[in-house]
Amino acid sequence: MSAELTAIILLGLGYLALLFGCGIAVERGWISTRITRHPAVYTLSLGVYASAWAVYGSVEFAANAGFGYLAYYLGAAGAFLLAPVLLVPIQRITRTYQLASLADLFAFRFRTRWAGTIVTLVSVLAVLPLLGIQVKTLSEAINALTGTTAGSSVALLFCLVIAAFALIFGARHSNLRARHNTLLAAIAFESLVKLGVMLALGAVALWGVFDGPQQLQQWLSGDGLVLTRQTPTLDPAHWRTLLLLFFTAAFMMPHLFHITFAENLSRHTLLQASWALPLFLLLMALPVPLIWWAAQKTAAAPISVTAYAAFIMSEHSVVGALAFIGGLAAASGTMIMVALALSGMVLNHIVLVAHPPEARPDLYGWLRWLRRGLIVTVVIGGWLFHATVGSHHDLRALGLAAFVGMAQCLPGMLALLYWPGANRNGLVVGLLAGIAVWLWGLWLPLFLPLPTLWLPLPGEPIWYQVTLVSLAANILALIGLSLFTRTSEGERSAAEACSVDAVIRSKRLPLEAATVADFSAQLAEALGDDVAGREVNRALQALNLPPQERRPYALRRLRDRIQANLSGLMGPSVARDIVDRYLPYRHDDAPVTDDIHFVESRLEAYRSRLTGLARELDGLRRHHRQTLANLPVGLCVFGDDDELVMWNRALAELSGISGESVVGAHRDSLAAPWPTLLQSALSSPSVTLYKQAAHLHGRDYFLTLHTADLSGDDSRGGRVVMIEDHTEMKWLENELVHAARLASIGQLAAGVAHEIGNPITGISSLAQNLRYDTDDPVLLETADQIQTLTERVTRIVSSLVEFTHGGRHAATLPRSPVTLGRISEEALHLLHLARTREAVTFSNTCPPDVVVRGDAQRLIQVMLNLLGNARDACPPQGKVTISAGTQGQQAWWRVTDNGRGIAPDVRDRLFEPFATTKPAGEGTGLGLSLAYQIVNEHQGSIDVASPPPGHSRGTAMTLWLPLYHPDKQQDDPPPHAEDSDC
């Protein structure tokens, strides 16, 4: 082995060791995640586009087509400059549905595994020449530097190391969409190396060979003019075709699709790359002509192998080493990413389609090992392609064979994004037609001589004609068959999900699985218990749903998420098969309606992208929605299938159930009493149900429900229910009815009182006559007592009449001194006349000096009522005590009994008229209300303690009355005439 060869091997292995070091540094966290997750790292990793073609092939291209070599860079730059309209929609679809490759995307959109399989096959065939270019440049660069023919063997060694790197850092996850931070950082590092090498080579050319820009310009105008004018000019049509091919390759080559969409962090990052990658490519392209011109200036004879002009422009070994490292960095990055991307595609669309995964205990591990085997196969396949075929063709022939092949997917991609009418028949036939032309015209001729294909443009290069004919056949078949053959329902819905401007009308279909546990159990049949449980939990976490979730809307989202996650694991075809089979929709007679909630969620998510009329309409939608949401009346909307679509804020407050937790739920699954209540409203022939009783938050409510049908020509169906809280109104109504009853009783009482008045007057007159007609002291006392009692009856009747007229006494406030002890005796005396409950003992302990200001008769009436109640409440041998005292400017006057006390529910309405606990006929319920009114007129108050403090039973009724002050009487008006009676 020559010294140069050994040095080159060591140099190459040293560089690859550095790459491993970079990977380990990221893996171990020696490099901050702030750096590894920076958008610049993503942009630099996209620099993998600049493969060995960019380092060597571009120089060869520049030598043969002048600035035509720029097509390679400008095509890719154009694709990324159009990122907002081209790449971002693809990113949205791939992220939403967890699609990791072009084959996944096509299989998802066109709902056929054939689409995925064909795209995978064409990718494998197209990528082989690209891999061949990487190995070929490595091999030939080694040969050129060392002057040996060992390049191919050394390239195999490097390929094995590269495959090991891909295995270690790129195949740890079974999910193809898992972001590989280490790998991206390593690829970004390689891009930096490539860029640094190219700029360094450009600098050597400009200042080392030409002594600066001025001398370069002089050379171009002098000696170099002859040489540059000898360079063939690229035909504009060829140039545009090349631009199109490289434009396509920039995002459709498997490795570029993988980095652009599967490894991407966000839309923002992609948009940043839309200008950053073109800048990177500009810097990569800038040194290419300088290197070529410098090599031309340096070379003594015409250069035969133009791709490696960098080795010629300077004899300094460092320049050669730099160019070699640049080529190795470009080749290794491409091979690593191609191997990872292609292995995933082959796994999902060939291996798993041929052998669907069964309920394996270690499904994840099985998938990982399959993928590792495929990675090694791809890398070794690239080397084999070079060894058998690639070495016999120049870089340009190999590159064009690869890029024209991948361009066959361009019509399908454009249809996927912008033409929902395209169907699988058109796609498959179009792809097959285009691929057939490409294989026959460009790819197979790499292996064996074939009869020339009939081509319509004689004299034009084969690659140009094959490109045009294959794409034309592809596009015509796609359009023709799509127009004239049927599109399935599944395809149509997938087309709506993928199309940029599609009207998405997701349907509400009922699922057979009714709970999350059902999901796990049904999926376990396909994936095994462990994997099924993990996938369901992963989907629940992603959607932030609880394991107890039962809402149909949430379960549909869970199904979609599981399908998307499985798609990331084993491709959309297999994922769809599993989900359709084990988590099927229920096909019954239930009406199928649009999933309005889902549509709204999507509109909210994509709101910032709406423009013009769509934005105006969305603004209007939000305004109407806000109006309904903030309505101070409860409102809910149901679809035709009784799934809840809206639950506004007022209803959330009334019910205590948040809208987020119930929207999407079936009506029957709402908490009681709502299902019954809403069912009765929706099934009622009347549009309004008035004051329906409902028990909410521990109290009774009265709700009025109004319903309306939402069916109509442009409507999506459903019913709306408006719910008003009429509890307060119901209470007021009850009060009004009660008051009306009282008023009628009052009128009755007034009439009765008036009628009683006449006989009482007669009795009083007769008693007075009796006094005049006899001197018998017994009869005289009887006549006095009759008169006293008739006066009392008269007062009671008068009080009753006054009560019915309400507050008439307030204006004639009594002012006389009244001794409480004395009127207590009076009241006891009168009470004894009734001669009932003799067994109850009454005692008057009032001191004689407690004098209040008031009306003695009315206060006796109060005391009589209190004593009567106390007596009635006492058991036989009960005891009733009257006591009094002063406190401050007030006197207290208390009646205490040891009776049964007052129940708490009665205490609240104790002073209401007609409130009585006595049996019918024994009490009117007016006594305490009259007492309350009288005490109130005396500017006093009544306290009730039942039982009194320090007692286990009984009641104490305490009256608080203002004390009488003789001094203040001077300022008061003259006392009422009858006050002096006592």
């Binding site: 370069l216 540059t228 073109p278 500009l282």
Partner: protein, 58 residues
Amino acid sequence: MYVYRIMLFLVFGGYLLSPFLMSGWGNPEIAWYRPFLIWGGLIALSVWLEQKRKLDER
């Protein structure tokens, strides 16, 4: 979205007119770096439009 339409127009316009870029090769009257200047200008425009888009979406 209007910003994107500008970019769409520029890229497709550039695609149609791009063959003129090649005329600088072997022509001493045209600076060899002219294609790169035009390309750099397009990138600067793209950066400016991206900033404008960010402001629009706020």
